[in-house]
Point group: C2
Chain length 188, copies 2
DNA sequence: GTAAAGATACCTTTCGGTAGGTATCTTTCA
DNA sequence: TGAAAGATACCTACCGAAAGGTATCTTTAC
């Protein structure tokens, strides 16, 4: 009589994905302290032992989740930039569109998990810093304008406020318009 | 032979202060997970029992710390505003000056504890939201301009980036100048 | 003397992590 | 082709440490 848990088919990829998604979801819904290996494993339909088969320790799990979300962010930004013809500030506009009003932004989105995770695990700050620096170097010819930096910082600020306050998705439409306009102001 | 701990004079006010300060300091230095009642009590030179005499539970301690820091922030902002003659956007300028480059609330200051605390105790988000809303209502005649909101959000963003990246205090001077200039732009 | 301030000792739960098992998949080779 | 052999995936059961919290004692202050 095999235990019911053993009856399930093996699907390492799917389980790994489920673990990463579960971690992100818990981070968003319960905040950083809610991210326990027990909770994550359970939410992914696996036991703690199963989790530790995929990740050597908790930190590795969080780092993997972080990298995963960063990758999604990367893709989304690139997609936005591909549709932008204006040579001035395309990265900054994509930044606004993606983080401020993108489908994935808002409560329950994986992106919220970024801030939660990063503030919970200070070592991740380096990853974030590296990511940002790389993108800035890559787009230095088009997005180095100080005003564009202000726009990106304001995006970060709006994002932070939203995560912290856990409010309803507010009237971001006006803010978006304004920030986008600012990216086109004072073009060289 | 009295225990050395008992030899010390009793000073409830001072101990309470020490506990709040210790909590804030630990939050800044070690992040949210470092805030344990044990660590806080120890850092304040008191035992756990002593801490629990002043605060019924951990959450109460964190909330008190949060309120305490918010109060300091309040005072500092008011002080800045008192020296500002320009009727347009004084609150937003004080916000920039205090949170971006202020001695007490710049990067590496007690204010960092706010974010950390919020993550440790998500319910605190409401407190922050309330504080901000109150100040905005109070200054709606002078600081409702959308551009001023962008300035404040950019301040939040810059602060977030520094907390996350834990970098050296970088060239904030240029950013400060720019943000202050923006508050004076497009005045009615 | 009595109440507040603080210390000591202990309890319960939960945390991250380990050990070793069992089931399933993949490769090897007759 | 197919079964043995090995590797991979996942589970059960457990551990030590540390967490938050309580009960009770001693000391100090008024």
């Amino acid at each position: 009589m095999a235990s019911p848990a053993y009856a399930r088919k093996k699907q390492p990829e799917a389980v790994r994905r489920a673990l990463l998604d579960a971690a992100a979801r818990i981070a968003v819904e319960q905040g950083a302290p809610g991210i326990t290996v027990q909770a994550v494993a359970e939410a992914a339909g696996v036991t703690k032992g199963g989790l530790f088969h995929h990740f050597p320790n908790k930190q590795a799990l969080i780092e993997a989740m972080f990298a995963d979300v960063l990758e999604q962010l990367d893709r989304e930004i690139d997609a936005h930039m591909a549709q932008d013809q204006d040579p001035h500030g395309p990265f900054s506009r994509a930044y606004v569109e993606t983080l401020l009003v993108g489908e994935r932004f808002g409560v329950g989105s994986p992106f919220d998990a970024l801030s939660v995770a990063v503030l919970a695990e200070p070592s991740l700050g380096d990853l974030w810093a590296t990511w940002l620096r790389d993108r800035l170097v890559r787009h230095q010819d088009t997005d180095a304008d100080p005003m564009l930096e202000v726009v990106r910082l304001a995006t970060d600020g709006a994002w932070l406020n939203h995560v912290i306050q856990r409010t309803e998705r507010p009237r971001l439409e006006g803010l978006r318009e304004q920030l986008l306009n600012l990216t086109r102001q004072a073009a060289p």
